[in-house]
Amino acid sequence: MRIAAPETSDLYIPTKRPFHFGRWFSRTGWRHLVGAIMVVFSAFPLLYVLSASLHPGGTLITANGLFSQVDLGSYQTLFNLPQQPYAAWYGNTLLIGGITSLCTVFLGALAAYSFSRMRFVGRRPGLLMLVLVQMFPQLLAVVAIFLLLNGISDIFPAIGLDSQVGLIMVYLGGALGVNTYLMYGFFNTVPASIDEAAKIDGAGHARIFFTIILRLVAPILAVVGLLSFVGTTNEFVIASIVLITPEKQTLAVGLYQFVSQEFSSNYSVFAAGAVLAALPVMALFLWLQKYIVGGLTAGSVK
């Protein structure tokens, strides 16, 4: 029942407006409705795979009974598969992703520093090339990469086919293309007067770069490193043709083959593998969320 405001006194100010469902719904309520629908849409597949992973020996059919059973058996099975060395895949993915993203950040930062701070012949064409290279991902030349590594393995087997070092080197070919432009934009926001002050104090270019600039641009380094790590983790095409021995493969290659061999019968083990594979990426992502959103829009919204 609504309480009518006293009509006589004009000093009375109601402390809280009475709740009116229609008004609430038309202002913010419908937004919550949209939000609820979208939450179900976004989170459901993730809950589905989590529930499937907690059902040992489960198949696709049993995965439909959500959270009907909670048991970590599949996770144990996962690490004891005779044909699929899951632990090795996991380690390889972290190693290849980690080294690639570290080197990508380093190579990219070197290039961004020179584009941002130095003036030289070919600077503008170089910047143009950085923008254009982004349009042509490496996987377009996957056949040539395969044949090139095949040729290299005749001469130097250590960096040829079926070698993780070779794969990392291939990934580093894309280091300048993808994110250097993003870094370049960020480097430009650091005032050049800082460099000049350091120069007057007697610091050389290397000291300025390593001890001053790199620290000031740390947020963009984190973003580029993370994007590169996620990109490498997700990369399937090149990893699948370069890495042949199961013990050397990455999660993307290994899990795809695992799932295509026994899709419906061993679903819970796959789901457990998927949950564990997603954990580090998702944790990093949510942790660095703020920077990523900034980094994503930095290229366009200046």
């Binding site: 597949p45 696709l60 923008v131 030349a141 056949v143 080197m169 070919g173 998702m282 959103v293």
Partner: protein, 540 residues
């Protein structure tokens, strides 16, 4: 008469020369001994690797690669020991990788597109001849018995052979038999050991039976002389090939049927008069044959055109749907009165944080026609062919890509919306604009200007969104009438992958020709879109 302008110019030049000199001195003074040592140490590592590489290449007399490695090493040393060339010092490390693994491979794709590289044509003519002769070998019925000891050195096996006349020789798969003198000989006159090698014991032979049985050691440099093989690891017999190569005539003759196979110089293989081809062949340049095959033969041209159309449709619809939903959500949640926006935001970006290849695999499970969650639970046991019907599969792909892609667009649009000043909206409201007019006439154009480059890169990304297609539907349902392995949902890049790497019959040449087509299409799209948005003009 001196021109005052020139004088001033000269003064400037002098000044800049002197200032450059000063800068050099300052730079040299600031660089400590430690920096110099680190620099020398790093360069020493690079040079050591290069020298090793050059040495190996020298032994293989691979002159083209030798020259390239030498040139790169010299340039790197020149750049880092020079007192100038500062920008080059910072750019070189990344540029080397970029040049080899991004630019060179593109050119190499172009070359492969003009060859017949693929299954049956993947090496040189000499390799093909050896392979043909080895593969058609038969044991000579009255072969002499060679006493044999299998030796091992650094993981590879060699044969230590005592010939019937007592000569002792050593040979391996790649090294024809040559006489040796320092072998240890036992009482029966059989050579049993050689310094530097380990003789295999009976147990080792049993354990590596298959590898040893597969060894074939050529008698001499001429493959027509035959090879030695062993069935048991203790005795070797002479094997001769049915095929005989006549180097002078360039023909391969089958001694059983007396058919002569000749190299016709076009297909990269030996062909008989009746058209029978001997495989393996070798790699040759075939000119435009791959492009002719792609556009000329009906069984490939049809699928290629439909795949190209679907690639464009898929990329366009993906951008449209994800941007539409992302923008809608950004507007919905961009209301300060609403509570719990941050919670919604975190949950909504979960699909973006989940690794994409896993998402596609999980959705493939959920959309499975017989057992999947969607059919079994949401549609109560219906049998809807989500991934196996041509049109439903296309719909499923767009739908799953919407799930994967809307969080990105949501984040981008939220950022762009928040960067639009509130005053603009207030001014429009004061002027009497209704909320929808404010959005359509003011906010949307401003937003589009800032997100247009991201929409273009999203289009380019989806144009080559291999993982989604390959992991969700594997390109299927397959088109059985097509001349290549292609399905209804294949996009160009998954077509390239399938032609080059899936199945027994790999055709690198044709796959590279398809890659070149993608390159041209992407280049076209880039040129048009960059011209439209003028994004490149802002470079400074």
């Amino acid at each position: 008469m001196t021109n005052p302008g020139t004088e001033r110019d000269e003064a400037q030049v002098r000044e800049s020369k002197r200032s450059r000199q000063a800068a050099r001195i300052a730079e040299a003074a600031s660089a400590g001994v430690r920096t110099l040592l680190v620099k020398i140490f790093l360069l020493a590592i690079v040079d050591a690797i290069s020298v090793y590489a050059l040495f190996v290449l020298l032994l293989r007399s691979d002159w083209a690669v030798f020259g390239a490695v030498l040139l790169v090493t010299l340039i790197v040393n020149w750049i880092y020991f020079s007192k100038q060339k500062l920008p080059a010092k910072y750019l070189t490390p990344g540029l080397i990788f970029l040049l080899i693994f991004q630019i060179f491979v593109v050119g190499y794709s172009g070359y492969i597109a003009f060859t017949n590289y693929g299954t049956g044509h993947n090496s040189t003519k000499q390799d093909a001849i050896t392979a043909l002769i080895v593969s058609s070998q038969q044991r000579v019925p009255d072969s002499a018995t060679y006493q044999l000891t299998v030796l091992e050195q650094l993981g590879s096996y060699s044969f230590l052979v005592t010939e019937p006349d007592g000569t002792v020789s050593l040979g391996g798969t790649d090294a024809p038999l040559r006489p040796v003198t320092d072998a240890t000989v036992d009482d029966t006159g059989k050579a049993v050991a050689l310094p530097g090698y380990t003789s295999l014991k009976f147990n080792d032979i049993v354990a590596n039976q298959e590898r040893i049985a597969a060894l074939s050691v050529p008698l001499s440099d001429d493959p027509n002389d035959g090879t030695l093989r062993t069935p048991d690891g203790s005795k070797a017999y002479l094997y001769l090939s049915d095929l005989v190569y006549d180097e002078a005539a360039g023909t391969m003759t089958d001694t059983r049927t007396d058919t002569a196979y000749t190299d016709n110089g076009k297909t990269g293989s030996f062909v008989a008069a009746d058209g029978t081809e001997l495989l393996p062949g070798w790699k040759v340049e075939v000119g435009l044959a791959n492009f002719a095959k792609a556009f000329g033969s009906e069984s490939i041209r049809g699928p290629l055109i439909s795949v190209t159309l679907w690639t464009f449709a898929f990329a366009f619809l993906s951008v449209l749907t994800t941007f539409g939903l992302g923008l809608f959500l950004a507007i919905v949640f961009n209301d300060l009165r609403m509570r719990g926006r941050n919670v919604y935001r975190v949950v909504l970006i979960l699909p973006y944080a989940f690794p994409a290849f896993l998402s596609a695999l999980v959705w493939a499970g959920m959309l499975n026609p017989q057992f999947g969650f969607v059919n079994q639970v949401l549609f109560g046991g219906a049998d809807i062919p989500w991934l196996t019907n041509e049109w439903l599969a296309k719909f499923s792909i767009i739908f799953v890509n919407l799930w994967l892609g809307f969080p990105y667009m949501f984040l981008v649009c939220t950022g762009a919306l928040q960067s639009i000043p509130d005053e603009i909206q207030e001014a429009a409201t004061v002027d009497g604009a209704r909320p929808f007019q404010v959005f359509r006439l003011i906010k949307l154009p401003l937003l589009l200007v800032s997100v247009a480059p991201l929409l273009i890169s999203s289009f380019a990304f989806n144009f080559n969104n291999f993982n989604l297609i390959y992991m969700l539907t594997n390109g299927g349902p397959r088109d059985v009438t097509a001349g290549v392995n292609v399905g209804a949902t294949d996009i160009l890049i998954s077509l390239v992958y399938k032609v080059a790497f899936v199945g027994a019959n790999r055709d690198y040449g044709l796959a590279s020709a398809f890659s070149i087509i993608i390159f041209l299409l992407v280049a076209l799209v880039s040129v048009i879109s960059f011209k439209q948005t003028k994004a490149l003009e802002e470079l400074n």
